[in-house]
Symmetry: C2
């Protein structure tokens, strides 16, 4: 549970940055080398690598080096865990709204 909580902390925090979300977004379309990833960003390589490292530490992506090329890809479990957390909580909120609406309808009928 503690580990799970730390994983969510890191994943949500990592997604709080627009460049990191853009990297995740591009990797959802398929694995990319760091130099391919850097293309649309006006970022120096060290800055891009820093974002890549934060994303790796958050468990959202993994990277592998073959020769001189580092290739990054999505690690789906962390994305799915963050979505699951949100989905569960939105469902709780919606169930409460449904109960309130049912209660209001019941009161209207009783009037």
């Amino acid at each position: 549970m503690a580990k799970f909580s730390t994983d969510l902390d890191r994943a949500f925090s990592a997604l709080g940055d627009p460049t990191r979300r853009a990297i995740v977004s591009r990797l959802c379309e398929g694995p990319k080398s760091v130099s391919e990833l850097s293309e649309p960003f006006e970022l120096a390589l060290p800055s891009l690598l820093k974002h890549v490292r934060v994303l790796e530490e958050s468990g959202l992506i993994v990277s592998e080096k073959t020769g001189r090329v580092r290739t990054c890809r999505i690690e789906p479990e962390a994305l799915q865990a963050t979505e699951a957390w949100l989905g569960q909580h939105i469902a709780t909120w919606e169930r409460r709204l449904d109960r309130m609406e049912a209660h209001i309808q019941r009161m209207k009928r009783e009037d």
Copy 2:
């Protein structure tokens, strides 16, 4: 778009903290006063209020003061926007996986 991006920045960043996720979690069950919210947390009131303020700034919750009581409630749009972002990207990733699997099946049949 810029505003939307900043909203997502704030919402994801705010959810990167376990106390703030616990506050969101409890508010999904219904509105609560700040003193009700503080009960399960071993936190001094100023620390709790700081988390409440971050959540308000992120758009995830709103609070209203009536007399001496400040009541907090979920603002569903921000939760839904973060879930939608994740859902879209997971769907992109899954579609890519499906295409890859279809391609592999096709290659197997051609062998």
